[in-house]
């Protein structure tokens, strides 16, 4: 137990258990955070981190045990009660209304304003005050849908802190940020800490723990398996606790991500896909990217870096055939964006695999079984569908085989896919998309929200695909991932494109500067 010290915990969980049906999400969890303390909460996918967040934010109630604030048991039955208890949450999936401005979104979260007329100037001043003490600059006058995720996250943070907050919970805040925005976020966290605010930081990135956290709590299978000061931990220790194996060498291999596959040279191969002077349009009609020219070759990984919301999603949608470019021309595997065959069905048949960024919306159908979800991509295969009838036994056999190969943890091919954790869903999507020998693989944030072990698995797959001569286009906001995998790098920032350039020709901080929208890196 870590109850040493004289400062009483601000918020504590005592013996908290939460079940969903037969599944135990949290088992007898003890957790405490003190004023001015930054606590990192880490663990694999499905370890029970989100459940703890949801209980503290009033979205879920514990089945057993109690939540204490200032040593007194409280019941947090609604988000409003959680706010009243001084707990602010920035969820992993932002809870902003896309069609409203930042200011209106913050006003929406201020019930004390009543229902009547909004004094927007006064609210704006309150926002400015809150933002200034945190050293944040926020755009509160644009509609949220036009902002990139870093700006949206700042609005979420200010929204959470507009009330007197004593504990701020950040659920995977760094997953979507570039290096400069990440440094800003850590600054903000340090300022909060200096003011005596407690922070719980949920993260998958080991470096975040050592950058800002005072203490790390590791969860595994819903239980707390380690609770120690960050200063006394090494990355290997954390991984050992997370994975639960005693093998220190294996843990180290996971941390360093050592790989046996070297990048192969893409020399001589014809372009699989050729983009010439392409203009991309956002769904709201504004121009996301213009003048984009890029060739994709077999046997190389091209990565697009940058903060989300700068046209990456639009590029993936267009290449997957879900949209057509506003201007310019794309030729891909013998299809032409100017022709009528530029549809998702045609491109898939030509050999495009797509791992979409929004898995729940364009990757899977949550209410359907794994087998049916598998069929969505492969329904034109004679072995699976004949004369319009699904051949269930063949489908079951194939899906079981693929699930085993990709180590998807499931009760079987007939299980509903929304019963799986996010990491397993992502492995399923990869298992499905890699089937059928695709020639171009579009991978949008393939490892976002996944735990470190699964990330290594995903990276291994992409490297194998490159080795096998496939073209891979990777979109990611994780610079480490890009530097690890990419042969060529391109950056989308502030309506501009930088690169492409070879991985060997560019330094990390130069890419960082590109991501921040500067033409060249700091000297």
């Amino acid at each position: 137990m870590s109850d040493e010290g004289s400062v009483p915990p601000l918020v504590a969980l005592r013996g908290v258990t939460k079940r969903f049906g037969a599944v135990v999400a949290n088992r007898a969890v003890d957790l405490a955070v003190r004023p001015g303390e930054v606590l990192a909460l880490v663990g694999e996918n499905g370890a029970g981190k989100s459940t703890i967040v949801n209980m503290l934010s009033g979205l879920l109630r514990p089945d057993e045990g109690s939540i204490l604030v200032d040593g007194r048991p409280v019941s947090l039955d609604s988000p409003a009660q959680s706010v009243r208890a001084g707990i602010g949450v920035v969820h992993q999936h932002f809870t902003l209304v896309p069609t409203l401005t930042g200011l209106d979104n913050i006003a929406l979260a201020m019930p004390e304003l009543g229902l009547g007329r909004l004094n927007r100037r006064q609210i704006g001043q309150a926002i400015d005050t809150a933002a200034r003490t945190l050293g944040l600059s926020v755009d509160t006058t644009s509609r949220v849908e036009g902002l990139d995720v870093a700006q949206q996250q700042r609005i979420e943070i200010v929204k959470a802190l507009i009330h007197k907050v004593r504990l701020l919970i950040l659920d995977e805040p760094t997953a979507v940020l570039g290096p400069e925005d990440k440094a800003h976020l850590f600054d903000t966290i340090r300022r909060l800490k200096a003011e005596g605010t407690a922070v719980i930081l949920i993260t998958h990135k080991l470096e975040d723990i050592f950058a800002v956290a005072d203490r790390a709590v590791v969860l595994r299978n819903g239980e707390v398996v380690a609770d120690a000061p960050a200063a006394g931990l090494t990355p290997d220790d954390v991984v050992l606790h997370m994975v639960g194996s005693g093998d220190r060498d294996q843990a180290r291999a996971i941390v360093t991500g050592e790989t046996t596959l070297r990048s192969s040279s893409a020399s001589g191969t014809d372009a699989v896909c050729r983009l010439a002077d392409v203009t991309l349009r956002r769904s709201n009609g504004s121009i996301a990217v213009s003048g984009l020219s890029l060739d994709l070759h077999g046997g190389e990984i091209v990565a697009i870096a940058g903060v989300d919301g700068n046209g990456q999603s639009e590029l993936m949608r267009v290449l997957a055939g879900m949209d057509v470019p506003l201007g310019g021309r794309i030729e891909c595997l013998g299809r032409d964006s100017a022709g009528s065959a530029w549809t998702a069905a045609h491109l898939r048949r030509a050999g495009v695999a797509h791992v979409p960024e929004d898995r729940r919306r364009s990757g899977i159908v949550g209410e359907m079984s794994l087998a049916r979800n598998y069929l969505l991509r492969h329904s034109d295969r004679r072995a699976l569908v004949r004369h319009g009838m699904v051949r269930n036994s063949a489908l079951q056999r194939l899906v079981r085989e693929r699930l085993a190969l990709f180590d998807v943890r499931t009760r079987g091919a007939d299980e509903r896919i929304d019963q799986l954790s996010g990491g397993n869903q992502q492995k399923f999507v990869l298992a499905r998309e890699m089937d059928g020998d695709p020639r171009l693989i579009l991978a949008a944030h393939p490892s976002r929200g996944l735990d470190i072990k699964t990330i290594r698995f995903v990276h291994g797959l992409l490297e194998e695909a490159r080795q096998a001569g496939k073209a891979v286009l990777l979109v990611s906001s994780d610079l480490d991932e890009i530097l690890r995998l990419a042969d060529r790098i391109m950056v989308f920032a502030a309506g501009r494109t930088f690169g492409p350039t070879s991985r060997g020709d560019i330094a990390r901080d130069e890419i960082g500067a590109w991501i921040a929208g500067h033409a060249s890196g700091p000297a």
Binding site: L59, V83, T95, T99, L100, L108, G116, R117, L118
Partner: protein
């Protein structure tokens, strides 16, 4: 001068014919902004029209009739809200049920009560106002100062609603409920309560439109007298892109088309009158086909909200 008189008469009549549609469209806008589509407003209008006549005849006051109609409309809206908001039923299905419920209730009620005598009852309905004594001013008088009280109230209502949506926190809550209810829930707002009230309000407005039809525009009730005006109101909402003031302008377009076709029937006796009667509906279809491209529909329209807890 003749042309001016013709235009003045056309506009004045167009405004009168547009009012039931405009009132229903204002209500539908509230409901859809909150995320609930109500295709049953046609039925609610019929109930409103019948109740207004019934209470006006028995009490002698059209205002009492209007109040009763509004209450009945809110009650009909509450039925829709119970099914779609509380019980999370399919909104279109519930709306169609509401439509037939309204047709049946109003027709049955009418035969039980007013139609019993066999002779037409006298309805002491609304009369046009004469604001500031200016209704007699040529050309503009009848248009601006000689309309029914409800018409002015409809314009004021739309303006207030537009103000509420743009400038009050309640408006933000309604827009959040229709666009991204999860955000309203996380902000501590009660999504279902907001939606329930908005659906009731849509019923109240639709019934007021029905009441106008039966106690101001005409003085009496006829079965199925709304003749699709509820559906025209829904198309006004889409055409105006969920903007309440735009919705009454769109309704005015339909009203003028209607007034024009009545005049053209008289002008061209050789042409079968059915060709003219369809004019407002043709306008609706053509305008919808042109307007629906790129329209900004509330993102959560038609979907029930269930929090993840």
């Amino acid at each position: 001068m003749d042309e001016a008189l013709f235009l003045s008469g056309l506009l004045a009549a167009g405004i009168r014919l547009a009012t039931p549609i405009a009132l229903a469209a204002i209500g539908e806008t509230i409901s859809q902004r909150a995320g609930v589509i109500n295709v049953g407003i046609e039925g609610i209008m019929l109930v409103g029209a019948f109740v207004a006549v019934l209470v006006t005849v028995s009490s002698g006051s059209p205002w009492a009739g209007l109040a009763a109609a509004i209450l009945s409309g809110a009650a009909m809206g509450a039925i829709h809200a119970v099914f779609t908001v509380r019980l999370k039923a399919e909104q279109i299905v519930s709306g169609i049920a509401l439509l037939f419920l309204g047709i049946g209730l109003s027709g049955y009620g009418f035969r039980l009560t007013l139609a019993q005598g066999g002779t037409a009852v006298q309805v002491p309905g609304f009369r046009e106002l004469d604001l500031f004594g200016l209704a007699g001013v040529p050309i503009v008088g009848p248009i601006l100062f000689g309309q029914h009280a409800l018409i002015y109230l409809a314009v004021i209502g739309a303006a207030l609603l537009a103000f509420m949506l743009s400038s009050t926190r309640l408006g933000l809550m309604i827009k959040a409920a229709g666009d991204y209810p999860q955000a309203l829930d996380a902000a501590g707002g009660a999504v279902d309560r907001v939606r329930f009230l908005c659906v009731m309000a849509s019923g109240a407005f639709a019934a007021a439109g029905g009441a106008f039809l039966s106690t101001a525009q005409l003085w009496g009730f006829v079965e199925n007298m709304t003749a699709g005006r509820g559906f025209l109101a829904i198309s006004c909402v889409v055409f105006a892109r969920w903007n309440p003031l735009g919705a009454i302008v769109a309704a005015l377009g339909f009203g003028i088309a209607d007034a024009l076709q009545i005049r053209m029937q008289a002008g061209y006796p050789g042409v079968p009158y059915q060709f003219f009667v369809i004019a407002p509906y043709v306008v609706a279809i053509v305008s919808l086909a042109l307007a629906s491209r790129g329209s900004r529909m509330p993102a959560a329209l038609g979907t029930a909200f269930s929090p993840q807890r």
